[in-house]
């Protein structure tokens, strides 16, 4: 049985050890990641940057346990994703991970409040409506709690997504081009909110972007080029 207990705070929150990922394509094997190694500690902020198609999002997906590496290992809180079942990963994500997507990924048939509530309700927590409203308040959308995603602007949807990402007190927050689908002004406001919430919350932040300004706001930056990590 894999050890599913989180490690002490001094240990790295996330650890990538010789991570490789390849796909079978029509003309042979396509190597996306060719031995990636890095660690990130508690409360750190890390940006992964690189041009389109370099493997940033693939790496982020592997870090969040959405897929298995072809070789190597990724450990979150000391637990190797590859040792867990699908449901075990889901549970680990629910307990320790928050995620912000480029295209928001709100469930279109749930209201803003219900979207924010979803991670807690999944744990079986009840009577947490107030907590959801608190987070909606933090992102400035408490008066839109009953609105469906279609009734919100892109920026508002991403704010709801931020509230959802933080509501389960994640140890680590992954953000995939969080401002990629927003205009610069709205994008900036979302950036501010993301870092502010993260600062207040003390979570580790891993974000993928090709926006160097956004990357520069992080404590560390990793570049991905030809499937390998280059220190920036």
């Amino acid at each position: 049985m894999p050890d599913n207990q989180p490690t002490p705070a001094s240990a790295p929150v996330l650890e990538a050890i010789d991570v490789r990922k390849s796909y079978q394509a029509a003309h042979g094997t396509l190597e996306i990641l060719k031995g990636v190694n890095f660690t990130i500690g508690a409360g750190e902020t890390l940006a992964i940057v690189g041009p389109s198609g370099c493997g940033k999002t693939t790496l982020l997906g592997l870090c969040a346990g959405l897929d298995n590496p072809s070789a190597g290992s990724i450990r979150l809180q000391g637990v190797a994703w590859e040792n867990l079942t699908e449901d075990g990963r889901a549970k680990l994500r629910n307990e320790h991970v928050g995620f912000v997507f480029q295209n928001f990924q709100l469930i279109p048939t749930l209201t803003a409040r219900e979207n924010v509530l979803a991670p807690l309700e999944l744990r079986g927590e009840r009577g947490v409506e107030k907590k959801a409203l608190k987070w909606l308040d933090k992102v400035g959308l408490v008066d839109r709690e009953d609105h469906y995603p279609i009734q919100l602007s892109g920026g508002e949807q991403q704010r709801v997504a931020l509230a959802r990402a933080f509501i389960n007190d994640p140890k680590i927050l992954f953000a995939d081009e969080p401002t990629g689908n927003l205009d610069p002004e709205t994008g900036e406001r979302i950036e501010e909110l993301l870092f502010e919430l993260n600062r207040d919350h003390g979570a580790t932040l891993v974000l993928v972007t090709h926006d160097l300004d956004l990357a520069n706001r992080c404590q560390r930056r990793l570049g991905v080029r030809d499937g390998q990590i280059v220190q920036l």
């Binding site: 959405l66 889901a90 680990l92 749930l110 279609i150």
Partner: protein, 841 residues
């Protein structure tokens, strides 16, 4: 409330229309099942209540020959109240209008019926109670010749006064007097008619009301032993109920199978609609999985929705079924020998509803189970698709559906494999449609790109590119076309046999009971009316005594023998001929046309079906008893007989030179040019020879058409559920594919495609799908109808060229029309407004 239930509810709030589409397909299938199930209970309950009335007495002893003195003595010694009836066909002559008509004479004495009522108009007329010569007749006779109570009717040498018309006879359906209207007379006048003579086919029966406390079945069992050599048939209330119950159960089961077709088609519709619905949910499932939802929980969210909505569909179907049941007695009632008491059988309604729900739920699982494979990675990359691979759970659900379908269909047919074949046939059809859709996609992927027209290229590409709806549309539309056309073709097959008499070369009137000394005189009358005898045959009555040396009694006593009793008990009416007739083909052995008349065994020709029933072939022996003389025969040839042609056809044909000395009567077939000539001929024959009976085959066939027409009407009523399901599935399939095509269409509109172009693209897509579904459906229906005609109804397969074309055109047109009607919103509105309203659900 658990997370999955809560999320299912929240998610469903804005998806009502789409969810309803998932359920609507099963509505009419469930309605059909519920209606027929509840009606089945009505049938059984009425039969239980009317059991005694069905027979009218405690015990009936019937025979096709007069009873021997010993038998009479024994039967009369059984005591109780006894009634007798002699029933035979004869010509009736109506002096007031000078018309003649074949009737069924029933000469009665005694107080029958003991249960139920012999209803007449005026009420209470019983021929046995009156001393004068009166008759009670079928109302059809009065209507036919414009007669009224008080008019005379002449049967043979005796004239009767019509005293009343029949309203109801216990245990008889509305069809009882259809071929030969019933005429009741008192038995004491039978002799005066002079109609019962040599060769007359008459049925004799005793109806007995046993003394209170006497067990009719025990008496019947005892009588069976005592009357073993008499070839009598014993019927008690329990036996009558069992026989009738079996026939009605078969009828009920048949309609149930027709209802099952609607349900199965609906199930396929549900699967397609759920699949379309769930395709829009893949992102949500991925997000849920990403947020930490387990595989099972993510699937359960949508399972609850599907279960709930199919339950609603089943509930609506059950309500419709309860309403439809009101119509069933009117549809099937005329086929039954009693009036149906109509009530809603709630347990059966529930049973039908739950079964329908189960089928719908199982079909829903087929697209639902693959949700387990949705990776949370999809939330990150919408294009991410897991590799398609064999899913044992989906295979298991298919297995359950197949087993359930086969078990259900087998339970609905008397021979289990008939039902199994029915179910397997449906499954084969599913496979054929799936293969046809796969072939279409493959062909289009190869050729669509080469099409010059952009609109055509785009429309055809829609059918093979990723996430296409080709398979679902072809399967649902094609199955609908196939099942509906098969039903109509089979109805045509059933009715086609009644068209024969319209052939100008075929005889249309049969005369029988012509005694040998009347033959010359009869021929003179026929020729005097300018007609000729088209065909005829001498007939000798005989009984079977032995089969390959084993006596009939031994065969009957042998528990391993599977020869039907009716074959060995029946009176054989055989003929002799020098060569096979136009309706016969020798299929084995050699036909012996002449025999020296002295040596035995005599070579005879046997009908192939009868040989099969007797489990014998060429070279086997049969021993017949002809009026007390035993004749050993050997089967020298087997004949295939075209029974559909109205000619003198026989099971056993003897060679010339053997039977000529035996007591004989004759049959004659004539083609009368018109009704007037026939009426004149009949009148002259009846006046000269009252014992000769004429059967106007066109009347018989009209009667047959009437019965088949009513059966066909009942069949159409049940088929209408399939038809409605087909329409609903079509609409549902097209609407769900509209959701599928929506974004592409809006994108095309955004980059400048005109509404006309969008409609044209969709028209090409629906035209191709409709055409393929109609074509494969029609051809499959053709094959299925041919198979059923040959192996089940044993008749010529239909050649439905027009029906096939109609099916193809109607399926294509309906698909096109429904598709275009559904695309209106897409092509006419501004893209942004359409997109927003669509996303809002």
């Amino acid at each position: 409330m658990s997370f999955t239930l809560l999320t299912a509810w929240r998610d469903a709030r804005t998806q009502k229309k789409r969810l309803l589409l998932c359920a609507i397909s099963i509505v009419f299938g469930v309605a059909a099942l519920v209606a027929i199930n509840s009606f089945g209970d009505n049938l059984r309950s009425t039969m239980d209540e009317e059991a005694q009335t069905l027979l009218g007495s405690d015990l009936r002893i019937s025979s096709r020959t007069p009873y021997s003195e010993a038998a009479k003595f024994y039967i009369e010694s059984l005591g109780g109240d006894q009634s007798r009836e002699t029933r035979f066909s004869s010509m009736a002559y109506f002096p007031s209008t000078e018309d003649t008509r074949l009737v069924q004479v029933r000469a009665v004495e005694g107080n029958y019926p003991y249960y139920g009522e012999f209803e007449t108009l005026p009420a209470g007329v019983r021929v046995g109670d009156r001393s004068e010569a009166i008759a009670v007749v079928d109302p059809v006779l009065l209507a036919l010749f414009n007669l009224k109570v008080g008019d005379p009717i002449k049967l043979g040498q005796q004239t009767f006064t019509i005293a009343a018309e029949i309203v109801e006879v216990p245990g008889e359906s509305a069809f009882a007097g259809l071929f030969a209207p019933r005429v009741y007379i008192a038995a004491r006048y039978l002799e005066a008619t002079d109609l019962i003579g040599f060769g007359t086919i008459a049925f004799h029966r005793y109806d007995i009301k046993l003394p209170d406390g006497v067990d009719a079945d025990a008496v019947a069992e005892q009588a069976k032993q005592r009357l073993g050599g008499e070839r009598v048939r014993l019927t008690t209330i329990a036996k009558r109920k069992e026989d009738l119950g079996q026939s009605l159960e078969n009828l009920y089961r048949f309609f149930n199978l027709v209802g099952m077709i609607a349900l199965l088609l609906g199930g396929v519709g549900v699967a397609g609609a759920v699949q379309a619905y769930l395709r829009g949910k893949l992102e949500s499932v991925a997000v849920l999985r990403f947020l930490g939802c387990s595989v099972g929980a993510a699937c359960r969210v949508f399972l609850w929705q599907v279960l709930a909505v199919t339950f609603v569909g089943a509930l609506i179907g059950a309500s419709l079924g309860v309403l439809a049941q009101v119509w069933l007695p009117a549809v099937i009632g005329p086929l039954l020998p009693f009036e149906i008491e109509s009530f809603v059988s709630w347990p059966r309604v529930l049973e039908g509803m739950l079964f329908g729900w189960l089928i719908a739920a199982l079909f829903s699982l087929l697209p639902l189970l693959p949700l387990r494979k949705v990776s949370p990675l999809r939330a990150l990359r919408a294009s991410f698709q897991p590799r398609r691979q064999f899913d044992p759970l989906v295979a298991l659900v298919w297995g359950v559906i197949v087993v359930l379908l086969i078990a259900y269909c087998s339970s609905q047919t008397e021979t289990w494999w008939h039902g199994a074949a029915f179910a397997v046939g449906l499954l084969v059809a599913l496979v054929v449609f799936t293969a046809a859709a796969a072939l279409l996609r493959k062909v289009l992927s190869l050729v669509a790109g080469r099409v010059q027209s952009y609109v055509c290229r785009q429309g055809l590409a829609n059918l093979h590119r990723p996430n296409n709806r080709t398979l679902f549309l072809v399967v649902t539309l094609g199955m609908g076309a196939f099942l509906i056309q098969t039903l109509f073709l089979i109805e045509g097959v059933l009715l086609s046999d009644t068209q024969l008499v319209d052939d100008a070369n075929e005889p249309n009137t049969m005369f029988f009971d012509i005694q040998t000394d009347q033959l010359a005189g009869f021929e003179d009358i026929v020729q005097g009316e300018g007609m000729t005898i088209a065909d005829g045959a001498p007939i000798v009555a005989m009984r079977l005594e032995k089969v390959n040396g084993r006596t009939v009694a031994q065969i009957k006593a042998d528990p391993t023998s599977d020869i039907d009793n009716w074959i060995i008990n029946r009176e054989w009416r055989s003929t002799w001929r020098g060569q096979p007739s136009v309706t016969e083909t020798v299929v084995a052995g050699e036909f012996a046309g002449q025999w020296n008349g002295f040596e035995e065994p005599v070579p005879i020709s046997l009908e192939d079906g009868m040989a099969e029933d007797l489990r014998i072939g060429v070279g086997d022996t049969l021993t017949f008893n002809i009026q007390g003389l035993t004749l050993q025969c050997k089967v020298s040839s087997l004949r295939e007989v075209d029974w559909k042609r109205m000619r003198p056809n026989f099971f056993a044909v003897f060679p010339e030179g053997v039977l000529e000395g035996a007591p004989t009567w004759h049959l004659a077939f004539i083609r009368a040019p018109d009704k007037e000539s026939l009426a004149t001929l009949q009148r002259k024959v009846v006046q000269a020879y009252p014992n000769i009976t004429a059967v106007d085959l066109s009347i018989v066939l009209d009667g047959l058409r009437d019965i088949l027409g009513r059966v066909a009407f009942a069949l159409r009523f049940m088929a209408s559920f399939t038809l409605l399901t087909g329409v609903v599935v079509l609409a549902s399939a097209v609407i769900t594919s509209r959701y599928q095509r929506f974004r592409e269409s809006v994108l095309l509109r955004t980059i400048g495609a005109s509404a006309k172009q969008i409609r044209a693209i969709m028209a090409v897509e629906y035209l191709a799908v409709g055409l393929l579904a109609g074509l494969v459906g029609a051809l499959l229906a053709w094959a299925a109808a041919a198979g059923l005609a040959i192996w089940v109804f044993e008749t010529d397969p239909p050649v439905p060229i027009i029906a096939t074309l109609v099916t193809i055109i109607v399926t294509t047109a309906l698909t096109l029309f429904t598709g275009l009607a559904n695309s209106r919103g897409i092509s006419n509105s501004p893209p942004l407004a359409v997109l927003r309203s669509e996303e809002a659900g």
